[in-house]
């Protein structure tokens, strides 16, 4: 799995950091997404895909 985030689009909703804290975090100063792990273990795929699906800014892309 390969993940890409678009920090420009990100609106700082924090859903990804809430759902998969091992993969996503937020910058302390403005809440913008930080990708902690662009290629996490495939066990996390459902969670990561879930985070991408609920991102209100559609700022997360996941490639299997």
């Amino acid at each position: 799995m390969k993940i890409a985030v678009d920090q420009d689009k990100c609106c700082g909703a924090g859903q990804c950091a809430m759902l998969v804290p091992d993969v996503f975090d937020q910058r302390e100063e403005d809440g913008v997404v930080v990708l902690l792990d662009p290629a996490p273990d495939d066990r996390l795929l459902p969670d990561v895909e879930g985070a991408a699906a609920v991102c209100p800014a559609e700022a997360i892309r996941v490639e299997r």
């Binding site: 700082g12 909703a13 924090g14 403005d30 809440g31 800014a57």
Partner: protein, 394 residues
């Protein structure tokens, strides 16, 4: 067709939604003011519009539809509500400055305090009780007051001011003007007090930013921000706690399932947000240039209302859309909007709703409605949907 539509009961969606989604995705409706707007009801259209910059916030334009029957047209049309920070690059700067207080990490740190407040409220409840007045309303108000650094003793006045700001039908123009002036005076004085005696809160932090005069935020923007956050934190989550508990108790097998499986609290909260048949009036936008939407054309100068409640029940977007599925995942509902303007406080709202539900399940597992679900009444005229009261016993 007059808008908003009348629902069969407080928890059920109006019959018009399903028909409009199927047959008339862009439909002309008449507001309380008599002005007309175009209503969008499909998930795909609502989601696209919420994120599309051609659907602007310029509802102060003379040709924009007025939503309320008062002279200024209410909270969405009032020129005071518009400004550089509400759109485009100005909005982006404002949003990024505010977001730091609403990150997942920051709001998770608030969990123990929210839990403590929730327990305190349950301690004071005696059956039968109105869950809205005794729990649903006070909890988010305490939380937002603490976050902003505003004394909760002023709660009753906040209620009146925010109701005046968000009610589209109840008040005369002079009453609205008085409420707006009082609210502004209170907040301006309060910001000044924070300067003299700063605390560990958001308003004190923002006052320092304003005083640095580096162009990030002006005094007027600070006062408007404080008012906006107080109102947003006041009405939305408060009403949602009541509606969420009502939905879970209306079919008590839902509540019972959560009593035995707390692991479902997170997804149940999301599903309650999706299933809410009375989330809000709809999100209005002014269309700046002609837009093609499927087979339809929306002319420049139109006012469009997106119906989030209808979008969230669209069978094209959600399997078993008409059922409340407590373990639905993922749940890309639009209760907090979508795109750059999606709700700033959504992580806080989620933590408040999850904590409220967890505390109620722990403390009042035998909770049940004290009236038939069909007898619950909606609050009328508000931009944000809610129940008048939620009579419960345990």
């Amino acid at each position: 067709m007059d808008y908003p539509f009348a629902p069969p009961t407080a928890l059920e969606p109006p019959a018009e939604w399903e028909r409009l989604r199927a047959e008339c995705p862009v439909w002309r409706v008449r507001m309380a003011s008599g002005d007309e707007a175009l209503l969008l009801t499909r998930y795909e259209d609502v989601r696209a519009m919420l994120a599309d910059p051609r659907f602007t916030h310029h509802l102060t334009r003379p040709d924009a539809a007025k939503l309320a029957d008062s002279e200024t047209g209410g909270v969405f049309n009032d020129p005071g509500a518009a400004g550089d920070m509400t759109r485009g690059e100005g909005h982006r700067r404002w949003r990024r400055m505010m977001s730091r207080s609403f990150t997942a990490k920051r709001v998770n740190e608030m969990r123990p305090r929210i839990e403590e407040l929730a327990h305190g409220l349950v301690d004071d409840m005696v059956p039968p009780a109105d869950l809205t007045a005794s729990f649903g309303f006070p909890l988010p108000v305490f939380v937002i007051c603490e976050l902003l650094g505003v004394p909760p003793e002023y709660r009753d006045r906040f209620s009146h001011w925010s109701d005046a700001m968000l009610n589209l039908t109840r008040y005369r123009q002079d009453e609205l003007d008085t409420a707006a002036r009082e609210f502004h005076e209170f907040m301006a004085a309060h910001v000044q007090a924070k300067r003299e005696k700063p605390g560990d809160d958001l308003l004190s932090e923002l006052a320092v930013i304003v005083d640095s005069q580096d162009g990030r935020m002006s005094e007027a923007e600070l006062v408007m921000t404080a008012q906006g956050l107080l109102v947003a934190g006041h009405e939305t989550t408060a009403n949602m706690i009541g509606k969420m508990v009502a939905m879970l108790l209306a079919d008590r097998s839902r509540w019972e399932r959560l009593v035995v499986d707390r692991g479902l609290i997170g997804s149940a909260v999301e599903e309650a947000l999706r299933f809410d048949a009375n989330p809000n009036f709809g999100i209005p936008r002014y269309v700046s240039e002609q837009v093609a939407l499927g087979d339809e054309t929306i002319p420049a100068g139109s006012t469009v209302i997106t119906n989030i409640g209808s979008a969230n029940r669209d069978a094209c977007a959600f399997a078993d859309a008409a059922d409340m599925v407590l373990d639905r995942r993922p749940n890309p509902h639009l209760a907090f909007g979508a795109g750059p303007h999606s709700c700033l406080g959504q992580a806080l709202a989620r933590v408040e709703l999850q904590t409220a539900l967890a505390v109620l399940l722990d403390r009042l597992p035998t909770l049940e409605l004290a009236v038939p679900a069909a007898g619950l009444r909606r609050r009328e005229g508000l931009v944000v949907g809610g129940l008048e009261e939620l009579p419960v016993r345990w």
